[in-house]
Subunit: 302 residues, 4 copies
């Protein structure tokens, strides 16, 4: 048999070999292996890589993965949620998130001024620190900003060199946040902005269109659906379609929503080119994303 | 035994009896029954009811449910996605969506200029009709609009009396669309708007805050997570918290994301009051939402 | 447009109209409508209908649905788990199950001798009643029994006319229980059986094969995967394949397991005929099964 | 903050460090890390470890993981499905499984005599080889066999030293197969057995009870629910309860079924001791199980 299922070779303990070994297995292990290989190709063939990031990945401890992907050129543009920005600031400002439990008593937590994100707790105080950091920035700014422009203003003022906002600023990587108003950052903006400050989300549309019109092979790594996925893919309704796409999701196609939709469906919309390489991994991204990142580190370690 | 599991009485065929009968069963049938009862109470006790609507519910045929909920006072405010607005316009303009199949060949569909949403097809032409309708409206508008303000301008110009945009306009029901730019409407806005038109999403924040500060019992019915859920709940970080909440979702808590998060988790954030009544139904909303609507119709039919 | 998505007509409140109305909507509402129509056809065209029942449907209150399906000829053979039999006996013996909560303290429950099945509690005492009922039957029996033969012995001795075991006995409907040993009934069998009693599960194989070789159109309604699904479908590896199949599941295809596998996959195995009609509804069966049953009642009510 | 979320340290590329690093992250990465640590403790503290294996793990390429877990003492007893045994024989007999695709045309596959298991194909010929291997064994055997006894007879006759059936035979590890009749092996048994051969599944109950009554700390690793999970846990209704338990599943608690039930629920039944350590990882086992195995290899590599 030419294409035979084969077991993983465990004689070497590195991530690289384990993930490569998954290629001849099945189900989501095979998909994970295909995703790893495809991401590697995207980097080797100089695709301009969008990373769309939904879900509570930053509270879950993945901020260094995001920063590392930027630093090493494994992603060239981030599209994320307002919440990701707020939680990154909580980390960058040194307050951080607490190892909690999904079985905690939520009423007690409320009384302790702790907010729960599944098994992570974040204190009310953390949001106050964010407010203290953001209020003067917001008050000071004037004019019409897209969110990547605003994120540069924020990244510039972040001291923590490990912050992906800082890394993005220094490496000139655009950070789109089309749902910035749908976050505590948005609440602060609505409270502290002066009359002259406009966050112009339609400008975001124009700026992501510019990126999608680049004469380069274009790739996308989609973590978890939501607006980051849709906002990035829909830009291709006007442009030519992505050349490569990886999706990590825990949602399922049969519910009919976009977060679980197959990348094949995206081809019917021409959001992906007909011949685009694509793979979806059905797995919690807290597991899949660090594995893919570790794989890329191994591959591109000189 | 006081609280004993009992089978549904099928001797009467109406929805009302079947759903009431589910109360003494278990799992999501019991949850569905609790949701029906809670929504009924919310209406009877004059809660101001937000409906948050994510996912492709309009392509799936639920526009009359949304319109009907508005007409009959079962919802007082809609928070939805840009896609819901675009697909509603496709229906209101008479083009409509096609019964398709999730097993279709996506490349062939692309060549036929049909876009797939799981088992629904929507033609390229439909989007052109939307463009023809929206372009003059967008070109004409000037000033700084929140999305509810913009939706009024649109609803006013919709001819179809069955459209929820028309109903909302006529009944003065605010329609928030915090991700309007994340849709084909958003693409049109970015192309056709004149210099003087600003869609000010931060104004949305202020306007939903005003609704959350009303001295009324406040309820929310959450269909499917996403920004509509978060945007509505987060307003309560500044206000007092919801008094009642129903959630219909196919997502699961254990992935850590907001769309699958329990409403108990929302209590730790004080987005719901400590004593708020809440129930989550884990079910495809194309099934659960029409059942709940039919139940309410039965209850409030004089 | 020929095949256009249309909203449900809510002007009549019966289940029949609502479910028929779902046919022109989408996602799992459409699938539910197709399942209803297909089951109706199966009955009208005199298919011999297997019902495979996994999961805790009896603790969840669906025993009258199972009994009703048998009484009205909507199913002709039941394949279920040992647990379903045990929980049916708990109901038939008058002990019953308790409306509980999935948030209960499991250690406290253990101390109260209550066992939890998600949001249902069942007392230790209930199992003692089952033991008291079964012990003399088991002690008395001698010879080599298939599980349908054993279930007849049990059904014969059940007093409760509402019990599906009694109905099956009276209407001569075979009840297969290929995992009977995987239940408290099995524990009792292993303790109380005399030397001369053999439960010969291989005889079950022969008996289900006989049913699958009938010269009749053959249909199957699959609730929830597991051994009941596999045991029924695998018989067709030797026979001709099912002519019609309905599946209700909350599992998903992308995990690679049988419980979530599509019915199309079953065609590759020839477990379904090439031209067999089939539909899968992704929905909690506590919701979908009563709706389908109520629909059939409405259709076949004279 | 004492218990702070921390990012994984990627400076070392080994599986060990990555999985340990997940302990201070969240969601299922944290759970995976806890599972790894707990399995390690179970081995170090000489727990007698049951491995329950449902789902198509053998077609998916995990046979060497199962064999390796046995060889290295990471598991002491296997409880699995008939299908796992059949697919292991297909591998052991050298026919194997084919890398397929979940998008294949199932009718075409049927005509090519290929059976599909999601993205794996297995030829009709493979089952014929199994039949040729099993028919003489079955014909030859006489007497009353539990499935572990029968599996020893099979394992003894398997030539392939890599087969987990062979390893189990050589290391005297019991292999329970309480659903053996629910497989092609079962079909062969029903066809080829002589009058004097009884597969006595109730004897399985007694034999697993003996193992559960051992005066040893007892642990269980549950892969994927189904009968293997229930059969192993239910034995503890008569014994003292497990001391440690790991569960890997893609099912969810809110559907009410056993495969997705929490291990806390199992405590209400006293299937786990009150103080038992337990962790559930929500992840495709094709990813999670090789990672856990690689971790154990790393830990116990001298």
């Amino acid at each position: 048999m030419e294409r035979r299922i084969e077991s993983i070779d465990f004689s070497e303990s590195g991530i690289l070999k384990i993930i490569e070994g998954m290629e001849k297995t099945a189900f989501n292990a095979r998909r994970l292996s295909h995703a790893a290989k495809l991401w590697r190709e995207m980097v080797e063939e100089n695709h301009f890589i969008f990373l769309t990031l939904a879900g509570a990945m930053i509270p879950a401890g993945l901020r260094n993965v995001v920063a590392g992907l930027m630093e090493r050129g494994f992603t060239n543009c981030l599209v994320t949620t307002g919440a990701s920005i707020v939680h990154e600031l909580i980390e960058a400002l040194g307050v951080g998130h607490e190892l909690g439990s999904e079985n905690a008593d939520d009423i007690k937590l409320a009384n302790q001024e702790k907010n729960r994100i599944y098994d992570v707790f974040v204190s009310q105080k953390a949001f106050e620190e964010v407010e203290n950091f953001l209020a003067p920035i917001i008050s000071e700014l004037e004019g019409n900003f897209s969110t990547p422009e605003l994120m540069r203003e924020v990244g510039k003022r972040v001291a923590d060199e490990k912050s992906f906002l800082k890394v993005a600023y220094e490496k000139n990587i655009p950070v789109f946040c089309p749902t910035l108003h749908d976050s505590i950052f948005g609440l602060h903006l609505s409270v502290y902005r002066k009359k002259g400050l406009i966050i112009d989300f339609l400008k975001d549309v124009n700026q992501i269109l510019d990126l999608c019109f680049q004469k380069l092979p274009l790739g996308v790594v989609i973590v978890g659906g939501g607006v980051p996925k849709n906002f990035t893919l829909q830009a291709m309704l006007l442009a030519e379609g992505f050349d490569s796409a990886i999706q990590i999701t825990t949602d399922s196609p049969q519910w009919g929503g976009l977060s679980g939709a197959t990348l094949s469906e995206a081809k019917s919309w021409c959001k992906l080119k007909e011949e685009a390489k694509e793979v979806t991994v059905y797995c919690d991204a807290t597991i899949a994303l660090p594995l893919l990142y570790a794989y890329l580190l191994d591959v591109f370690r000189e």
